[in-house]
Symmetry: C2
Subunit: 307 residues, 2 copies
């Protein structure tokens, strides 16, 4: 048995425009680095190397909550020490909590040589999401664990579908403002017009078909959200402009990453993704809001073991 | 130039459970037989060989309405005589009007050697649907014209996506009661709960992915409608029982065909489809409602030219 494992746990983009609560994808960057070691001390020790001042009390920590759920099902588990170097900023809308939760259970299952199913791992990791936001959701966890583009057809019972993952380049801008997931949820209307719901599911069907057929035009046409984005985008200054200029720069389309404030755009090639980055920078430079950008790719593997 | 063309225009199943207003498929049976001939008389003559007492005044006839829309774009069109032997009962929920409209425009475009796009043909045929129900919809017309399983991502502008069509056997029961499309539309609520809309689009995404991956289990799990079926099925006596017993007999799943009253069930093989037929017959024999059943297959070609 190895004594130590080190992994890269990637950022993820949930919701995917029309795929609210059901679709997600993993990106190559940013990612957290997590190291798990067997320890002589019983129980679970968590160390954060980053500056985000996250609690290290296991039951209150996202990675800890997920791990504790898993360890309940492991007989005679040894002591574990988890060191997290978080690069995905909490609250960015890039699946920071999912990276912690999914990374922790993946690392532990490998280190302890447990043969859990993908569904088991998702279920354990969801306990971490519950610590983070009070809600068990799987649309970041699943692409983080499995890579590529994933569909959560149903959460109860959990039904995960891995979709085909065409080559996609992804540009992300994270304006340095705070949008709380709970606020972003609260402003949504509990009822939607049937005619808008029909538009939305036409687009979702088109987007899934586009991914499966690797039909980039269809992907682009389907990246339209008539229900969530019109409401949530109000919380993100510059959103409409970023979207319009990114499409002018050649992006297939995109929208709010998770519940924001990050915005993502999909492109067919790297050059376009770089042009999109320039367009995004221009918007926030003009508005005068600090930001961080990433030009990255679809991550087809999910969590990667470094050593 | 040929002087005559004869085609088989197939029945279609719209809505496909969770795919309300966007998904449809064509079946091998039943089908209408339509014969179109060049005529010395200018204009359009329509003859019905069936017993349904449909009007033969071109502008008020479904096939006629579609044809007249098309002929507006044809220079120096000759006189045409269209003979329709309708086997798909109007009001069955099996796309009877779509078969007339799509069949008419397809036959005429071939006979007159016009090179319209698929989208053009759908657009013309929708004028026939408007004659039939007052609403231009394309979810029966498209699979009738193209065959297989089709997605209408958007109606304005029209965006048609042909999905992969796995081998599917289809059992249909048509209880001989009347459900008017307009009534079936009227009882729907104009607003739906967001949480139900999310369930629905998870199922639609799953269904599309299931068709693309030929994953029959996924198709079965995704054939769930939490929005339309609970309301519309009230109009169809025996619906819940037909569904439950069909699944017990091995069907993947199914639901209301179009706006009813026909009910369809998908199966992986012919034997199961036959067992499902028995289950359906048992229900309506017990209730004492006349019915007609079909055991058929997914029609991958759509309209077929006989001669």
């Amino acid at each position: 048995m190895k004594h130590k494992i080190q992994i890269k746990s990637p950022a993820t983009i949930a919701n995917l425009v029309c795929g609210f609560d059901i679709l997600g994808l993993a990106v190559e960057e940013p990612y957290d680095i997590m190291t798990m070691e067997l320890s002589d001390q019983p129980g679970l020790e968590i160390i954060h190397l980053d500056e985000y001042q996250l609690t290290t009390i296991p039951a209150e920590n996202v990675a800890g909550g997920a791990l504790l759920a898993m360890l309940e099902d492991v007989k005679d588990a040894p002591g574990l020490k988890l060191t997290i170097d978080k690069k995905i900023k909490p609250g960015s809308g890039l699946g920071s909590s999912a990276a912690s939760a999914a990374g922790a259970v993946m690392a532990a299952s490998k280190l302890l040589q447990q043969t859990f199913t993908e569904e088991d791992l998702v279920r354990y990791a969801m306990f971490g999401e519950k610590v983070a936001s009070g809600v068990k959701h799987a649309d970041n966890i699943t692409p983080c664990l499995l890579g590529g583009i994933t569909l959560i057809r149903s959460i109860l019972p959990i039904d995960i579908v891995k979709l085909n993952s065409p080559e996609l380049h992804i540009t992300i801008v994270h304006p340095q403002i705070e949008v709380k997931t709970s606020d972003a949820r609260q402003i949504l209307k509990k009822e939607v017009q049937l005619k808008n719901a029909i538009k939305q599911w036409g687009n979702i069907a088109g987007l899934v078909a586009g991914f499966m057929k690797e039909d980039y035009d269809l992907i682009g046409r389907s990246l339209e959200d008539v229900i969530i984005e019109p409401i949530r985008s109000i919380l993100i200054p510059g959103f409409d402009e970023v979207k319009a200029l990114s499409k002018e720069a050649g992006a297939l389309g995109g929208g709010i990453s998770g519940s924001g404030p990050s915005i993502f755009m999909l492109s067919k090639d790297k050059n376009t993704a770089i042009h999109v980055e320039t367009a995004m920078k221009d918007v926030y430079n003009r508005i005068g809001i600090d930001y961080k950008t990433y030009v990255t790719r679809l991550n087809k593997e999910g969590i990667k073991i470094i050593e």
